[in-house]
């Protein structure tokens, strides 16, 4: 009984890691530019397709495909920021949300139009094998373990980057107060562009991690919609919140899928979001700012 609960929780954590990665992308962009990127899931999908191309057409090894996808997607992210986001900087949030929805539509459409990608479903080979790992009564697929470990590694890397790297500190300053950062000599516009690149790179990483579980498909970006609850539960402006939120959503979903009647699995995440918003309008780790006139 307990081992089954543990089993479900671990599976939920593995799935939640992917939500957390997508949510991390939302939060990075939201913190810096106050833009909510509804295309984050589609960026993840595009990243997975680039990884797929690198591994099947070019025949590169797994780690090289990850690196390739991240680099290409970072470029794509910066391009998107430069072309469509910068002209509407300073407009109401809703405007920018609609722009990113438009970007999502374009990316989804373009992927189905590219010869060789199309609307079919693909699978991506991983070096982790098909094996399972047992601890006591709990079984964990090696792919799930790899997802958890790689997510943890990425979080550590991001933490170190924001804590010690010059650019990371500049990004943090920008996201706390753009004007003050600008007065301190930080090139805010360029930093915003780099943040979009970073978020798109993180999305590509998430896409490749998700590929063995969910397959590569032009509609796989809709997983990004599950990451919204994750970001909101954790508090939209908080990087640790995104990770915690993602794990919560993943675990709740896994448990709801088993203990509750059919159908609750798909809405569990959204019910959690509504409940959290009802009691904490800005999420668990959200910052509360006093109203100023």
């Amino acid at each position: 009984m307990f081992s089954q609960f543990l089993q479900l929780t671990l599976a939920g954590v593995a799935q939640g890691c992917v939500y957390a990665l997508v949510a991390l992308g939302f939060v990075l962009i939201y913190k810096a530019t106050e833009t909510v990127n509804f295309a984050q899931g589609d960026l993840m999908m595009l990243g997975a397709f680039f990884g797929l191309t690198a591994s099947t057409v070019l025949g590169w090894p797994y780690w090289a495909t990850i690196l390739f996808a991240i680099v290409v997607m970072a470029a794509v992210g910066m391009l998107i920021e430069r072309i469509v986001i910068r002209p509407v900087l300073g407009y109401p949030t809703f405007t920018v949300v609609m722009i990113t929805i438009g970007v999502g539509y374009v990316l989804r459409g373009v992927v189905t139009m590219v010869p060789g990608w199309g609307t079919e479903t693909y699978s991506l080979k991983t070096p982790f094998g098909e094996g399972v790992i047992r601890f006591g009564g709990v079984v964990l697929a090696s792919e799930q373990l790899a997802t958890i470990v790689l997510t943890a590694a990425l979080c550590l890397a991001l933490y170190l980057f924001f804590r010690f790297a010059r650019l990371g500190v500049a990004m943090q300053a920008t996201s706390q107060n753009q004007l003050a950062a600008y007065y301190m000599g930080i090139p805010v516009q360029r930093v915003n562009m780099l943040i979009w690149g970073l978020a798109a790179g993180v999305a590509a990483f998430g896409g490749i991690l998700l590929a063995p579980v969910a397959f590569v498909h032009s509609n796989m970006g809709f997983i990004g919609l599950k990451a919204f609850p994750a970001a909101v539960v954790g508090g939209f402006g908080s990087v640790p919140g995104a990770v915690v939120g993602g794990l919560i959503i993943g675990v709740v979903e896994a448990l709801a899928g088993f203990y509750l009647p059919e159908g609750f699995k798909d809405v569990a995440a959204y019910v959690v979001v509504l409940v959290v918003l009802l009691f904490m309008p800005s999420g668990i780790f959200g910052e509360t700012v006093r109203k100023k006139v």
């Binding site: 939201y30 106050e34 909510v36 469509v84 002209p87 509407v88 900087l89 300073g90 407009y91 109401p92 949030t93 809703f94 405007t95 949300v97 609609m98 722009i99 929805i101 438009g102 970007v103 999502g104 539509y105 374009v106 990316l107 989804r108 459409g109 373009v110 992927v111 189905t112 139009m113 010869p115 199309g118 609307t119 004007l179 032009s218 919609l225 919204f228 609850p229 909101v232 939209f236 402006g237 059919e262 159908g263 798909d266 809405v267 959204y270 019910v271 979001v273 509504l274 918003l277 009802l278 309008p281 800005s282 910052e287 700012v289 109203k291 100023k292 006139v293």
Partner: protein, 357 residues
Amino acid sequence: MRFIFKTDYNQDIRLFQHGGQMFWYGLLGVLLLAAPYLVSGYVLSQLQFICIYSIVGLGLMLLVGYTGQISLGHAAFLAVGAYTEALLQAAGMPFIVSLTSAALLSAAVGIIVGLPALRLKGIYLAIATFAFNVIVEEIITRWESLTGGNSGKLLKAIEMFGFRLSSPESFYYLCLGLTVLAVLALINVLRSPTGRAFVAIRDSEVSASCMGINLAYYKTMSFALSAALTGVGGALYAHKVGFISPEQFTLVQSIELVTIVIIGGVGSLHGAILGAAFIIMLPQGISIAKDWLPESVSPAGLQSVVFGLILIAFIIFEPYGLYGRWLKIRTYFDVFPFYRRGTFRRQRVYLRSERLR
């Protein structure tokens, strides 16, 4: 250019500002009334869709364009209206009763959503309504004894006062009449203190509440009115399509409804109708464009690419939408040699931040 010198308040809130306006709207009305005898059956069917989407667009315009509340969950209200209509018609209710119930029930759901939404702002509100949409969609799918689940519900033709509205012409007149009613109702709401309270809330919540506007009351009311109109649209939509199932009321549908508001022009009633017409006619235009594509490219994604590009282009280049474009053209001719490029330039507010509001 026509100058109107207003000397009293009644002049300011008149339905038509001058005879010219009355003439052009009258002409439009006559053309719309004569449409069934002028156009083909296919165009008439598109006109019915435009009327239905206009009603929904007007409802959403009230919420998004005038009160400034974001909703990504309006397809759920559409679903409430459509299913109420389907169930009550199956139970043998007359159309007047079922349509009114669809509107009232949607309004009630709107209040239920609007109340928790009082505490939420900006993006949190968008995500809460979006979560609400997903939940409603799932309820419709799972509650098979009531809604028929994925196998959907069929609807019969409307019967009203002993007449069967089975011909396309009669249904078109019904849709047109309801659209005109919706427009008149909204004009009246907007020129009353209620409408001005909505606009005040949109422009600044803080200053609106300082002026004595009860934020909770007006925000909930805006949600309820908007949901009621959307419910009416949903009931008509159900009759137009004749078959409803959960996959017609997804998040994608909600986004399309918001696009009506954006493309038409935020904050104008004309915009809601222009946007609805645009969205209905877009697939037609795209299917023509498909013939120009090279063979090797699969045309499946073209629709979503064009849709996305149009959305982006409107927001970047024409933030006031189709109606804004028309205003610019008209102003250009009105002031002919003196038009200046900066006339409509939008002021940028770099420091306006949702976090600090």
